[in-house]
């Protein structure tokens, strides 16, 4: 009988774990409730994104002006934060392990890219070369890997841009965004390159009142054709050899195809900017592509919120979740991977004035190992927004095999229980810019360990 592993959580961590299990020939079931952080990203997969203003995470080499590349930043991060999941997974000696860490990251990114490519979402990038990407406000992100539609927007490659605004679509005024972009480029030490602003007037039939509706409309060929026509007509205005940067609305399911068509038609590089809250378009596309990839990989997908795990003989034996009508469903499991996220995903919550991990009541610790569970959320935050808040670096502690641990001796809760993604303690995704990187890496690593544990039911 083949080993069965149940993954709880359908974000990037859970999906990566399930896809890895499928690759290893393990029978994988993924139970997920509502989307969490993965569906709310802005379009990058930061393994170790550059963090502006961080004193501890250098993003710029001391003497040169150019930012460090991802592999260097990863090494610095591992060396600086012993509690970060990367340090746990890759080992804490940055000098000897950094190269190995970068290699393993490249391997898992390539696997994810391969899984997503058939479903209309590309994943491009490198740890040896930075991607400099503008978001919809003109802010620049310096990062490693980028999804789909924003991938072609690397300002390091094509510094001259034509900033496209769609008349009537709510967006920052182009002039302001470009001013911001110029300031960003100056701060990054890039030579100033004047950007052009291009305004496209789309026919009134297209919904311009909301980016979501426009993006959905542009999935339809006849609507997209209107946009392509308007862009074509604006070529003289844009000038030759420029990168066309569109707002992130070029389709929901057909963004990749639309972009390819635009590149061909305009004879120029075309990309979307990264999105900015409250626009969840890139995260939405990733969410959909992951669902498709999971189905294609033969992972059984179940919808529901896990209420408890059943144990016996010192191991977990089953996962129980509530289906859509509230009926409990029991899934046998030889190993379980918890990838339930943090507060937005429901992996952590505060109830009755106490932070808790709701499925097993696991201890929730911050980056220093201090407990934050059992206390109110507000007791674990600091005065200033930019401070390091224990609450937002908190999660479940784990051993080197990503098994949740409890107690002073840090022994694993069970030999066949694993954790991955934002649920893990010791990092602050918003601050560190490592969120999806951790999800991907720990998802795969947890899956490998879970597969081992599932195949050897008697091993400790």
């Amino acid at each position: 009988m083949s080993a069965r592993v149940v993954v709880v959580g359908g974000g990037l961590a859970g999906a990566s774990a399930a896809l890895e299990l499928a690759r290893e020939g393990v029978e994988a079931t993924l139970v997920r409730a509502e989307p969490g952080a993965t569906a709310l990203g802005w379009g990058t997969l930061d393994v170790a994104g550059a963090v502006p203003g961080s004193r501890r995470l250098r993003w710029r080499a001391p003497l040169r002006e150019a930012p460090l590349v991802g592999a260097d930043r990863l090494a610095i991060l591992i060396g600086t934060f012993a509690s970060h999941p990367y340090a746990r997974v890759f080992g804490r000696d940055a000098r000897s392990e950094a190269g190995a860490a970068a290699e393993r990251v490249k391997e898992v990114v390539a696997a994810l890219a391969a899984a997503l490519a058939p479903h209309g979402l590309a994943l491009e990038g490198s740890l040896d070369e930075n991607r400099l990407l503008a978001d919809a406000h003109g802010i620049v992100r310096v990062t490693d890997f980028v999804f789909g539609a924003a991938a072609g927007g690397n300002l390091a490659e094509v510094p001259e841009i034509a900033w496209v605004s769609l008349a009537g679509l709510p967006a920052d005024p182009a002039r302001v965004a470009l001013r911001r972009l110029a300031a960003e480029r100056a701060a990054l030490g890039l030579t100033p390159v004047p950007a052009r602003s291009v305004e496209l007037r789309l026919p009134g039939a297209l919904p311009l009142d909301s980016p979501a509706r426009l993006a959905a409309a542009l999935d339809r060929p006849e609507a997209f054709a209107e946009l392509a026509r308007a862009a074509d007509a604006a070529r003289p205005e844009a000038g030759a050899g420029r990168l066309w940067l569109f707002p992130p609305v070029l389709g929901l399911d057909r963004a990749a195809a639309n972009l390819a068509a635009l590149r061909e038609r305009l004879g120029a590089p075309v990309a979307e900017t990264l999105a900015a809250v409250p626009d969840a378009t890139p995260g939405y596309r990733l969410h959909r592509a992951l669902e498709a990839a999971l189905a294609a990989a033969g992972v059984a997908l179940r919808r529901g919120r896990v209420t408890r795990l059943e144990s016996g003989g010192g191991r977990f034996r089953a996962v129980v979740f509530e289906d859509e009508v509230g009926e409990p469903v029991r899934l046998d499991a030889d190993a379980v991977v918890l990838a339930t996220g943090r507060f937005i995903g429901g992996g952590l919550r505060e109830r009755g004035g106490a932070v808790e991990e709701p499925i097993l009541g696991l201890p929730v610790v911050d980056g220093r190992g201090e407990r934050v569970d059992g206390r109110p959320a507000r007791a674990s935050v600091r005065r200033r927004y930019l401070d390091l808040h224990p609450l937002f670096a908190a999660g479940v502690s784990s051993d080197a095999r990503l098994r949740p641990t409890t107690g002073a001796d840090a022994s694993p809760v069970a030999p066949n229980l694993f954790a991955a993604g934002d649920l893990l303690a010791g990092f602050d995704p918003a601050r560190d810019r490592t969120g999806l990187g951790v999800a991907l890496v720990t998802g795969v690593v947890a899956a490998r360990h879970a597969a081992d544990a599932a195949r050897e039911p008697d091993a400790p």
């Binding site: 709310l40 911001r180 300031a183 009142d209 959320a377």
Partner: protein, 554 residues
């Protein structure tokens, strides 16, 4: 007040009749009153209108029920004036039915309470108020299902609520439209005295441009609220206050359309009450000795308020509190009494008579609901000193937008604006909503989803109302104080203001950083439950998307 108006042009060489220092409800009210009487007025405010005490009030223009016992005259005047305010600003006010539950261990029985309400009923007609009703526990729970099981009965009574910050701005705007020189973010540097020691104006500094100027006036009025003591000291005419801090918890949405009384553990009356799109719970009243410019909401205060609310509404903690606000009452000094007992008395000080500092006056104390009366009194006295013989007209002259009713459906259809947005626009701008939208090329565009606030309204605030900073917008148009706490609107609003005010990127970045800090300061004391997930997204929006230019180090 607008960027291009003659009022921000170099000030003319003739002195003003009155310089009003302090743009809270008192200062704005007096400036308007004087302007309506034809006086030449200058009004300067250190930050944004009402950003001191007025914005943090419960925003109720109540009739003074509690004064019936001590002095019904006060109640009468309060009710009459509440009626005036409704008539001059019908768009700003909203009705609040109050529910007063009676518990077995309340010191005052239901019959005595009802006698009080029957007395109050006699005054309600002055303010368009509804009479009380008396309810059994079961009946009360039909009105408010969340009421405690332990009640032995309940009463309803009627009051009005108002957006206090908007009321301040409306008064100031009216003053400006009638010729007053009005400027925010302009702080007092020093008073100017002539050789005889008479105050003849002040030197003020624009906190944004750094520009200093001298404003000359025949009389100078200090309406700086809790800062009155410090400011009057600067003129050499000390006024003593006993500042009382009060907090409110602001819920993410309305808990109920009714207000519910709740008693604190020390017997103080508080309420959970609807306020605009939200509900608020409060308030406290504690002697305050701290820094007026940096108020904190403490854990004790939050716990005290929630504990009180829980007695009347046991399920109150299930409701999401979005942030907390704190302000300080500029109570006149009185030794020995518990804070609550000090009446909300006010005084107009003629420092020429009182302290030998002529040309200088202070309007201190009071409460929001009495602002118009206080302003009338102060204006009467100032005009007497100035020899201006004109009657007060603030009670029957509509505030901007208050002159005609609006039809939100018509506005919604005509401009393609969503109905919720049309409603909210109407509540802030009344009859001017349509002209505001006509001036916009994209009237339906929204900046803040939660309120909602339209792009057109934000621009109007800049072009026609003198808005100068992003944080001002939190008060002026209620930006960023709902479910998202600015995550959805902060960056977009900054970009709109950057265009309207021509900010360089560094300035825009600094504005947004300040806004985010201010939001966090208000959120952290009440961060709990479902709000934590919202803050994760908030941090992704602001921390995760910080740029490289002028990124603060951490």
């Amino acid at each position: 007040m607008s960027g291009a108006s003659p009022r921000t042009a170099p000030v003319s060489s003739d002195p003003f009749d009155v310089l009003v220092v302090g743009g809270g409800i008192n200062g704005a009210g007096v400036a308007r009153d004087l302007a309506l009487r034809g006086a030449r007025v200058a009004l300067v405010e250190k930050r944004e209108f009402g950003s001191g005490t007025s914005w943090a009030s419960s925003g109720m223009i109540h009739g003074g029920l509690r004064y019936l016992q001590h002095d019904p005259e006060v109640t009468l005047h309060s009710c009459v004036d509440s009626g005036h305010i409704q008539r001059i600003a019908p768009h700003l006010v909203f009705r609040i039915p109050f529910l007063m539950p009676i518990f077995p261990d309340d010191p005052i029985g239901a019959e005595i309470v009802e006698v009080g309400l029957e007395m109050y009923d006699r005054y309600q007609p002055f303010k368009g108020g509804r009479p009380h009703t008396r309810l059994s526990p079961a009946q009360a729970r039909r009105l408010e299902p969340g009421l405690s099981d332990a009640i032995e009965g309940a009463f309803t009574l009627d009051e009005w609520g108002i957006d206090a910050a908007r009321l301040c701005a409306a008064n100031a705007l009216d003053a400006a439209e009638r010729g007053a020189f009005v400027r925010t973010h302009t702080e007092l540097v020093a008073f100017v005295k002539d050789a005889s020691g008479r105050v003849c104006g002040a030197r003020v500094r624009d906190r944004i441009t750094g520009e200093e100027r001298r404003i000359e006036a025949r009389e100078t009025l200090n309406t700086t609220g809790p800062w009155v003591a410090r400011v009057s000291e600067m003129a050499g005419a000390p006024v003593r206050l006993r500042p009382g801090k009060g907090i409110h918890l602001v819920f993410e949405r309305r808990v109920s359309d009714l207000a519910v009384y709740a008693k604190g553990i020390d017997g103080r009356d508080m309420f959970t009450f609807p306020h605009e799109q939200n509900s608020m719970a409060g308030t406290t009243d504690d002697d305050f000795y701290g820094d007026l410019d940096h108020m904190e909401v403490t854990e004790d205060e939050v716990a005290y308020v929630l504990q009180a609310m829980e007695r009347s509404l046991p399920g109150i903690r299930e409701h999401r509190v979005a942030h907390a606000i704190a302000g300080v009452r500029p109570t006149l000094y009185g030794f020995g009494s518990y804070e609550d007992e000090l009446s909300r008395d006010y005084a107009v000080f003629d420092h020429g008579e009182r302290d030998g500092v002529p040309g200088f006056w202070t309007l201190a104390g009071g409460k929001l609901a009495a602002y118009r009366l206080m302003a009338e009194d102060a204006s009467d006295r100032l005009c007497a000193a100035l020899g201006i013989d004109a009657p007060c007209r603030t009670h029957d002259t509509p505030l901007p937008g208050g002159d005609a009713p609006i039809d939100p459906r018509e506005v919604s259809r005509r401009f393609g604006v969503g109905l919720p947005a049309a409603l909210r626009l109407g509540f802030r701008h009344g009859a001017r909503a349509a002209s505001l939208l006509s001036a916009s090329e994209a009237p339906a565009r929204t900046v803040c989803l939660c309120e909602p606030v339209l792009d057109a309204e934000l621009r109007h605030a800049v072009y026609a109302e003198g808005l100068r900073t992003l944080e001002d917008a939190c008060l002026r148009v209620r930006l960023g104080i709902g479910a998202c706490q600015g995550a959805g609107c902060g960056a977009r609003a900054t970009a709109v203001l950057a265009e309207a005010l021509d900010w360089p990127a560094e300035r825009a970045g600094a504005e947004l950083a300040g806004f985010v800090d201010a939001r966090w300061h208000a959120i952290a004391p009440v961060l709990a439950g479902d709000h934590v997930a919202a803050l994760e997204l908030h941090r992704a929006a602001f921390l995760g998307a910080r740029g490289f230019a002028s990124a603060e180090e951490f």
